[in-house]
């Protein structure tokens, strides 16, 4: 397989990770734990499919996907910021809720427990071997690649980003100079919902369909990438690409009968652990991460 095709596949696989990890970084830098990425992504996928189906247009789907992420992001925000709930508990609940709600409404809207009908999406017919060309028609891929520098810019180069970093490290300090801690966190967590939901939107629209639990653990991989990148958006983005490359490798290696598929499928996970243990030292989370009070 050509290096081009390998890279193209890596990028396609990475897109949901990139969105979610970028969103997660933003929220965690403000001090809110992002265990919720999986739920945001799933909700985004469902709302995107719903919007695209009823709106008849994939951009309506994108808007709805973002809307779904926004709602769930704000829900997480209200529960953890206004009501000071434990962020991990809320994260677990949001993820369970996302599975339940998408299933429930899948049933209600399309009468199926497993998938939606085909909806308008982005990927178009591409013949021949030009796999790279196959990605171009999907604006979400470009957007996903763009999300990382955008979040990096927002965090390091804007007043909002400065406040996010301050709030995530030492909220009392930010508060003492009149920064509205809760408001900063609301915005950060809402944006993380929108971004992670875009990852789900990509899944659904690339697939032209929503299927039950289609995020399939990608939110957790994105969380891992974010931690792996030591809460830096760019390094997190690179970690996403690394994970995606390992997955691509896994796909390429499978099918040779010599090794059982299960062992090949372990490759990305083993690689991650080895890399984590070998390369990076201790990761340092934002100091106020997870502290609701």
């Amino acid at each position: 397989m050509s290096i081009f095709a390998f890279a193209a596949q890596t990028i396609r696989i990475a897109v949901p990770y990139l969105f979610a990890a970028a969103g997660g970084t933003l929220a965690e830098r403000s001090g809110i734990i992002s265990l919720t990425l999986e739920g945001f992504m799933l909700t985004g996928a469902f709302c995107a499919a719903l919007g695209s189906y009823y709106g008849g247009n994939s951009w309506v789907g994108v808007a709805c996907g973002m809307g779904g992420g926004l709602v769930f992001g704000l829900l997480h925000g209200v529960v953890t910021i206004r009501y000071r709930a434990d962020q991990v508990v809320s994260g677990v609940a949001i993820n369970l809720l996302a599975i339940g709600v998408t299933r429930f409404f899948l049933h209600l809207a399309f009468g199926s427990s497993s998938n939606s009908p085909r909806v308008p999406g982005f990927s178009t017919v591409v013949r021949g071997e030009g796999m790279l060309a196959g990605m171009l028609p999907d604006p979400l891929i470009a957007l996903g690649l763009f999300a990382v520098p955008a979040v990096a810019w927002a965090i390091y180069r804007t007043p909002f980003g400065l406040r996010v970093r301050a709030v995530g490290e030492f909220p009392q300090a930010a508060e003492s100079v009149g920064v509205h801690v809760a408001r900063v966190r609301y915005v950060a967590v809402a944006l993380s919902g929108v971004l992670a939901a875009l990852g789900g939107t990509y899944l659904a629209l690339d697939q032209h369909q929503f299927t039950d639990n289609m995020s399939a653990g990608r939110g957790y991989i994105a969380l891992a990438a974010m931690i792996f990148g030591n809460w830096d958006p760019v390094r997190g983005g690179l970690a996403c690409l690394l994970f995606a490359a390992a997955e691509t490798l896994q796909i390429q290696l499978q099918g040779t009968q010599a090794i059982p598929s299960q062992f090949v499928q372990m490759i990305p996970y083993v690689l991650t652990i080895v890399a984590l243990a070998g390369m990076v030292g201790k990761s340092t989370p934002p100091a106020a991460l997870g502290k609701s009070d």
Binding site: L75, V79, Y83, R84, A85, D86, V88, V89, S90, V92, A93, I94, N95, L96, L97, A98, I99, G100, V101, R103, F104, H107, L108, S113, Y220, I221, L223, A224, I227, F228, P260, S261, Q262, F263, Q265, M266, Y269, V270, T272, I273, L276, A277, G278, V280, G281, K282, S283, S292, D293
Partner: protein, 357 residues
């Protein structure tokens, strides 16, 4: 007296508030599919606490949840977040089955149970020891390593059960091992006829003992003192002569061993074989159980009972409403408990201030 009342209110009010919120959310969902909430709730109660069989099923589910809930809470007490409960549970179950297959059929029951249970605990423990060491030695974040190890363990077990050459081990065309020869635990149905047919078994007792032991360990032993200190303030623990890395390793090992123990519920108590996928979802729900149960063994027990009731109840009302309703309710309940606990505490404090003013 007053402090006691405050503590009672503090522990009881959040779940009650949560229940009310969940009831309202449930009503909306039930009405949206055109059913009567009263009827559905009545059915839910009848199917769970209303008859011995249903209650037995609730207890069966409680057993697994106690183990995975304790697993998560041991980790959290030491400041570690173990999300690998599912794989650890599966590993424990598989090891119990292997032990039960390896033992001769003539093994005396108590010995068989002991060996198989020990196998489950040890196998679980190993799966936790690895991320513990990775954390202590290499600073590898346990959230990532437990997620990754989860996939690795499940892949290994999947291979063992579906592809490995194991005529003696697995039953062709299925996803389970052969039945164990020794180590089977009696079911409640064997002892109390009313429970007949339900999966509840003596593992519940073992899980309760484990919960009591966990309580003792946390609050009454020196090791527990060290472990909690590490979780609250690692620097102070280090100052107090505690080897923080060693505590991390120990905590992860114990945490995963408890999850592994949960494997006997299905393998020794219920089906008498290991089946691929029996652990699905239990690890994740364990997180909810630990957190709603506020990391105390008693809380974990009660939260397990609650979530088990909800899960079994979902089955009972399946004829009227889709089972996904229960998924939604689970999320709502956890959110409501999490959100109401600090809120209740705040309101209590405010009330007291007004009273004293």
């Amino acid at each position: 007296m007053d402090a006691l009342r405050e503590r009672v209110a503090d522990t009881l009010l959040p779940p009650v508030v949560a229940l009310l919120v969940a009831l309202v959310a449930g009503d909306v969902l039930i009405l949206s599919v055109g059913q009567s909430p009263v009827e559905v709730y009545a059915l839910l109660l009848r199917g769970t606490w209303g008859n011995a069989y249903g209650f037995g099923q609730v207890l069966y589910k409680t057993t697994t949840l106690i183990c995975t809930g304790l697993c998560v809470s041991v980790g959290l007490r030491a400041g570690l977040f173990n999300i690998g409960g599912e794989g650890q549970l599966a590993a424990g179950g598989f090891a119990a089955a292997l032990a039960g297959l390896a033992l001769p059929a003539s093994t005396p029951a108590p010995l068989g149970i002991l060996v198989c249970t020990a196998a489950a605990v040890i196998a679980g423990g190993i799966t936790g020891w690895v991320p513990g060491v990775l954390r202590a030695r290499f600073g590898a974040h346990e959230v990532i390593t437990t997620i990754m190890l989860n996939f690795i363990i499940l892949a290994l077990l999947n291979w063992a059960i579906s592809s490995a050459d194991g005529g003696a081990l697995r039953v062709p065309e299925t996803l389970h091992t052969r039945a164990i020869r020794a180590g089977a635990l009696p079911r409640f149905g064997d002892l109390i006829p009313a429970f007949h047919g339900s999966a509840a078994n003596l593992s519940l007792l073992i899980a309760l003992i484990a919960a009591a032991a966990a309580w003792w360990y946390f609050f009454r032993t020196r090791a527990g003192y060290d472990l909690r200190a590490v979780g609250l303030q690692p620097d102070a623990a280090e100052y107090g002569g505690v080897n923080v890395g060693a505590v991390w390793v120990r905590a992860m090992t114990i945490s995963a061993a408890l999850a592994g123990l949960g494997g006997i519920n299905f393998v020794l108590g219920y089906k008498h074989y290991y089946e691929d996928g029996f652990a699905t979802g239990a690890g994740f729900l364990g997180i909810a159980v630990a957190l709603v149960g506020r990391n105390t063994p008693l809380g974990v027990g009660l939260a397990s009972l609650f979530f088990a009731t909800l899960s079994q109840g979902g089955l009972a009302i399946n004829a009227l409403v889709p089972k996904t309703m229960v998924d939604v309710l689970q999320g709502v309940v956890i959110l409501a408990v999490a959100a109401s606990a600090p809120e209740v505490r705040r309101v209590l404090r405010r009330r007291k201030r007004i009273a004293t003013a």
